[in-house]
Symmetry: C2
Subunit: 341 residues, 2 copies
Amino acid sequence: MSRNSVSLKDISKACGVSIATVSKALNDHSDIGQDTKENIRRVAEELGYHPNAAAQALKTKRTNNIGVLFVDEANSGLTHDYFSHVLDSFKRCAEQNGFDITFINADKTRPDNMSYLTHAMYRGFDGVVIACVDFFDPQVDELINSTIPVVTIDHIFYNRIAIISDNARGMRDLVSYVYRMGHRKIAYIHGLESSVTRARLASYYRTLQDFGITVPDEYVLAVPYRDSEAAYRATLKLLSLPEPPTCILYPDDFSAFGGINALSEKGLRIPDDISIAGYDGTEIASRVIPKLTTIAQDTEGIGKAAAERLIDMINNPKAALIEQVVIEGKLEPGGTVGKPA
Amino acid sequence: MSRNSVSLKDISKACGVSIATVSKALNDHSDIGQDTKENIRRVAEELGYHPNAAAQALKTKRTNNIGVLFVDEANSGLTHDYFSHVLDSFKRCAEQNGFDITFINADKTRPDNMSYLTHAMYRGFDGVVIACVDFFDPQVDELINSTIPVVTIDHIFYNRIAIISDNARGMRDLVSYVYRMGHRKIAYIHGLESSVTRARLASYYRTLQDFGITVPDEYVLAVPYRDSEAAYRATLKLLSLPEPPTCILYPDDFSAFGGINALSEKGLRIPDDISIAGYDGTEIASRVIPKLTTIAQDTEGIGKAAAERLIDMINNPKAALIEQVVIEGKLEPGGTVGKPA
DNA sequence: TTAACGTACTAAAACGTTTGAGAAAAGATT
DNA sequence: AATCTTTTCTCAAACGTTTTAGTACGTTAA
């Protein structure tokens, strides 16, 4: 009800025992009598005791708090569909293990002007999870090379555990699918330079090569992620080619909607006149008509794997096994890919 | 580079002054000589000192940390479009004022089994912001009635500052708009019982009344928020009425997409055969064709107002002025409302 | 000359925990 | 009866800060 603050000392007085005894009783140490424990716990409950995280952290060097650094192009991972789903899953898993999560500041205008690492050390995070568009930010680098347990998402560092969505496989599945649907002129509007983009792009070329297809350079364009305006313009560019593609792949579902706008503006029907596919498997993609063909990323699995590995590492720093955990996506055939016209 | 931990003591040794002097120098107290201050700061920098949040919190009872309780139907506000945008804005503003944000657990399965209030006190949050679907959860109630500074979003308590989106105004604007477009048979698929729903529903009836329109009871249906399946079914139900509506309003943009599916399945064209509107102003709403007519909620303004008020209250608990801050939305006319057929 | 004052510093307690070392009492072993 | 164990508890230091009261010393006013 109120913002009281009953401490171990209060309980110790009420029970007529020492503070140490109270602490041990509440932490279930073996050197406290059963009846004493019960009494102390009862009184603690009555008094409305709850521990003080700051004092515990000061003493034990454990905060049960995990730092989250999710930063996208807009300097916020929160409104980013993919990130927010991963984060939600991460959060859930962390909470089930008794950890809270706190954001590592993404706003560089904060008054104390701390770097990511400084901030993480200030708060004493037991571990840190990073999902980032720009893994080459020096501040990110500093954090990666610290001694704080770190798990990265969608980017591999030689000295860190990484959880990565299987972009190569996803892209291969997608390209194979549209190939099987009969497409040969497959354009790819991809995201800006990042390890994710690189993996997908390589897989795109590789898969086409396996099918014996070569695409003209004009079929491959770069736009920022989730920028439907840019995707719109890129799409128009593709359409203006002397030999336009019959199928366009987008870096994400959101961009695909930008593409759809361009196509419908040009009077092209999907999938009769032209086929398209997105990437991510956002909820909205499955709610529009026709459903967007896309690769559903396993955000649940990614978040959970990240949390599990990080907590492992926190609880067992010695056994820190550097590994890459690859999480498979899943092709979601919608109605936006048909036979080529 | 490493997870060192240089403390005031280390600096004091290096400078040959007392710990107190170091503390005061770094906090810019007036009773420390200018040159001493400079020297201490230089050494602190060299040694890579950064303060310890736990120790500071223990001593000062300030954590510079704000607890966030955002819980939606799925027990997570993170993937909720409206919430996540509000939170993003809140976070940004809080960070600019030197506050971090930590989630108050939404997962009731956490091992220590703390209530929201217990959790908040354990972490020593300086304040708490609550956006919630169920403000009648006893745990929420407990938190509201604690002495911790609280700001609520979209729900008014007599003893708390509330930031509320102007749902009455938004609904009035929307209904007036479709009325002006010629519609008289206006159905409303609304969300489940909540103060937001109540405000909108009342405004819907009130506005229609002002226009001298009465709607049959069958025109008003309830579905959960953001449940496009339910909205799909509700839409079919409306279409099967002997005298179906010419315009359907949905509780949110996402539901509207469910409605669109039902309509297109029935071969109805939007807006030629039937008109629809959403609510929220999600990004995707403006990226589809035709653009979804909707009320854009000022999530930026809501989050910012919440953070500002909360921080005010934290810094100046005495002056706690209980108020309701109303944030206006904005009608975004898209292409889904036309003249009635 | 003495008291009053201002400046620049320090000592030490306090915040609420945890924990290893030790102590006291009771029970078990010779 | 003396010694060893076991059980149950307490002492006290420590974690890294902040802050109040106080000290030492030089300067100024009477």
